[in-house]
């Protein structure tokens, strides 16, 4: 980064370089801030005259990718869970498998053996396999735990990077960061698109990420609407195909199938020089979890009137449960830390007086 700060050719590519120029030396917090501000578009590698094989060996996307992954572990809460980021792919796969197995086992133990493979239809059909209050309590607990752990992580991150600025974010900076994150402003290689395989910007990661992110939001909205239906209107799932939770979930689910598939394909094609090779498992695990969530959800929708409903429900609930409890210990955190970094950046720019 000493090279970067005395060169500055990349200044117009993204937020990382202007943020870097505001500093003459870098603390660990600064490094983690820059690492999470980086969207890994690869433009500064393709454009760098000092990239390998040049002897200066400048590879900012890779350097920041490694720092980013290390920052996830550094801010993990509770501290004992930081180790989950090591071999994250294996850890996530293990938790997901155990979770699915637990639901299948649970369904079998608490119901008659035939119920798992039976045909259940009409309102409350799902709750024949698992009582609604059990489902609600279990998933609320998982989600609340995830939120707690994520908040604690973000708090530690904000403290670490925001030290000279203070703890409060102001509204205009927040709004700027929401817009920058919402349209992935910095995942565009400075305008031409991202670099993934070589120096030609041909990558479609921005579109796939949009499908994934907004698909995820729609699915989450579907869950929220369904919860409100249940408690406020006393309308029980499953709902008809035209009903809001199903429409939202289906649209989101489709996005959450295509998006992760595209991202996974892009990851496979990525120039190994750009990636943190030791931790590709973390990316893959999170992408697969999202894919499995939507895949099992849509399969459940299509086959809910058949005997496959029971096993599929167990699979879907198992995957979602695993997704919830592993959120604070996987790639999911990238979104939060990057958003916080964008808030900090927007704030810095405002303080410098040049928004």
């Amino acid at each position: 980064m000493t090279v970067c700060n005395s060169c500055r050719y990349c200044e117009g590519l993204c937020a990382v370089f202007p943020a870097m120029e505001m500093r003459r030396s870098f603390s660990d917090g600064d490094l983690n801030y820059l690492a999470n501000l980086c969207h890994a578009c690869g433009a500064c590698y393709a454009d760098c005259q000092f990239a390998p094989p040049h002897q200066f060996d400048v590879n900012l996307p890779k350097t920041l990718a490694i720092a980013r992954a290390e920052s996830y572990a550094a801010y993990a809460w509770p501290r004992a869970c930081a180790g989950l980021f090591e071999n994250n792919g294996v850890v996530i796969a293990l938790i997901a498998s155990l979770s699915v197995a637990a639901f299948i086992f649970g369904f079998s133990v608490f119901n008659e053996p035939r119920a798992l493979h039976g045909i259940h239809t009409g309102p409350g059909a799902f709750y024949a396999l698992m009582p609604h209050h059990a489902m609600a309590v279990l998933f609320s607990a998982a989600l609340l735990y995830a939120i707690l752990a994520l908040v604690m992580g973000v708090r530690a991150f904000w403290r670490d990077i925001g030290e000279p600025v203070g703890m409060r974010a102001d509204a205009p900076s927040l709004w700027q960061a929401i817009r920058d994150a919402g349209n992935l402003r910095y995942l565009d290689g400075g305008g031409v698109g991202c670099f993934n395989e070589d120096e030609r910007p041909t990558d479609r990661r921005k579109i796939y990420h949009h499908l994934t992110f907004y698909g995820f939001l729609l699915c989450f909205a579907a869950t929220c609407v369904a919860t409100l239906y249940h408690f406020l209107l006393a309308r029980e799932a499953p709902y008809a195909w035209w009903d809001l939770p199903v429409v939202l979930g289906t649209l989101g689910g489709i996005g959450l199938l295509i998006g992760p598939a595209g991202l996974l394909a892009a990851n496979w094609r990525r120039d190994p020089d750009l990636a943190d090779q030791a931790r590709t498992g973390m990316d893959t695990a999170f992408i697969l979890m999202l894919f499995l969530t939507s895949f099992s959800g849509i399969a459940l929708l299509l086959l809910r009137d058949t005997a496959a409903m029971g096993p599929l429900l167990a699979l879907h609930l198992g995957v979602v449960f695993a997704l919830f409890i592993t959120m604070p210990y996987g790639k999911f955190v990238h979104g939060l830390y990057r958003f916080v970094a964008l808030v900090r950046y927007a704030r810095e720019r405002r303080m410098m007086g040049n928004t």
Partner: protein, 465 residues
């Protein structure tokens, strides 16, 4: 795989801005084009790799340029830096053509951005490449590939077959063997000879061994030498090169922009005998920038040291190599392997000659020495607050001035004054026509793009006839 048995309409030798502009412009005019880049793919583009902006005339402010830069002002700036060593007709033609280049280069995929931090003085006159010179090259190569231009890397040209000013074929190295490639026209855009130490020694003697080369080791001037040997008229002073003071710890080649130092005004500059040798406060950036390379080249062992103290350490851009520090002047001298007593005397004498003043590094201020030889005529402040710092510097060679003479069509002129039948030149290899001396930021890229575009167009037209 490129078929070398076919005869191309246009053969472009070189792989930088000028070469790619020529290739794209020829291809857009309907010609078949082969580009021979002597460097491997990563090092493609010669000095363009290290550029970042271009100086173009424009009549009004644009999204990225803060104000108009009329042709006449451009011409006056050029006259100033070259001290008249320029071909007025060619230069004025280039300046008028530069206006359209601002748009044309964008159509070829290059993107502009406002001037970079620390370069505000260029915000009105110069357009900066988003992502720098390598980003510009990537865009041009991508466009050339899409248009169907054939490109070969590590294609070192060993010989040119030229008959009475008419280009016939080129012999190039292919693995262990040679291959011959024929074309109806030649565009030579292969740069200068700044990386050819042996050639530099012809003018600079053994001192050239201590020069550092700011660009790639592939700028060896072999095409220039062949063309001059085949009867092309030369232009520009062969003994001169653009040299700036760069960090002595920089690599021999390709250190690029990040090895330069612009801290001269904040301290004093001494040679290996710990003696000052030139007025450090003579002129403001960028004029002073280009003289220090030559000044250091004239010192024993081609080494000098910029000495300053802790009060100014954050006054200039952060540097790649940290300054060498010492708690006392003597300790610093020890680390630099200089005579401590001599350095202490130099600093003491300098401090004694500094007069009270109001320091302002943005103007020619009133901080000067009295009774000191050589004087420091501006920005002179005492060096007295430890720790003391030093940057060792050597001459860093950017480019050479010797080139091939061309006319408005970028067509080469032979020694007898006749025009070559089918040979054109663009970029640094002919820059001496316009820029016989000195330098103005971004003008090398202007020469490259303007004459590259012209050379490609003219070559394509000639090939069709």
């Amino acid at each position: 795989m490129v078929d070398l048995n076919r005869k191309f309409d246009v053969l472009v030798i070189g792989g930088g801005n000028a070469a790619l502009c020529a290739a794209i412009s020829a291809r857009r005019a309907g010609a078949s084009v082969l580009v021979l880049e002597g460097a491997p793919k990563f090092y493609r583009g010669g000095n363009t790799r290290h550029t970042r902006n271009m100086r173009c005339a424009h009549d009004a402010a644009t999204g990225i340029l803060t104000g108009p830069y009329p042709e006449q002002e451009f011409w006056e700036d050029l006259l100033l830096v070259t001290e008249g060593q320029t071909d007025e007709e060619l230069a004025r033609y280039m300046i008028s053509e530069s206006k359209d280049i601002l748009n044309w280069i964008v159509e070829q995929g290059v993107r502009w951005q406002p001037s970079l931090g620390g370069t505000l003085s260029l915000g009105r006159t110069n357009s900066f490449f988003l992502g720098g010179g390598r980003a510009m090259l990537n865009a041009l190569y991508l466009t050339a590939e899409r248009l169907g231009v054939d490109i070969l890397y590590e294609a070192e040209v060993l010989d040119l077959e030229v008959d009475n000013g008419m280009f016939l074929s080129a012999a190039l190295k292919q693995g262990d063997g040679r291959a011959k490639v024929s074309a109806a026209t030649l565009v030579a855009a292969a740069g200068g000879f700044e990386a050819n130490i042996e050639w530099l020694k012809e003018y600079w003697g053994e001192a050239a061994d201590n020069f550092l080369i700011r660009g790639t080791p592939y700028n060896r001037g072999s095409i220039l030498k062949m063309l001059l040997g085949k009867g092309v008229q030369e232009v520009g002073d062969p003994t001169q090169c653009h040299a700036v003071a760069i960090d002595a710890r920089a690599p021999k080649f390709d250190g690029g922009i990040i090895t330069r130092h612009d801290s001269v005004v904040f301290g004093i500059v001494i040679n290996k005998h710990a003696a000052r040798f030139y007025d450090e406060g003579e002129d403001i950036w960028p004029k002073r920038y280009a003289i220090w390379g030559r000044l250091v080249a004239a010192q024993p062992d081609q080494i000098a040291y910029i000495i300053f103290d802790s009060t100014v350490v954050t006054s200039f851009m952060p540097t790649l190599f940290p300054p060498i520090a010492g708690a006392t002047v003597a300790e610093l001298a020890g680390k630099l392997e200089l005579d401590p007593a001599a350095l202490e005397k130099t600093v003491t004498d300098f401090n004694a000659a500094v007069r009270p003043c109001t320091f302002d590094h943005t103007i020619l201020d009133d901080c000067r020495t009295e009774g000191l030889t050589p004087p420091k005529t501006h920005w002179a402040r005492k060096i007295e607050t430890p720790p003391y710092y030093a940057y060792p510097v050597r001459p860093g060679i950017t480019f050479t001035y010797l080139g091939t003479r061309v006319n408005r069509q970028a067509r080469m002129v032979m020694k007898d004054g006749k025009l070559s039948a089918n040979m054109f030149a663009a970029g640094e290899i002919m820059a001496g026509n316009v820029l016989g001396k000195g330098y103005a930021a971004g003008i090398g890229m202007t020469i490259g793009s303007v004459f590259g575009r012209i050379a490609g167009r003219e070559a394509a037209q000639h090939a069709r006839n």
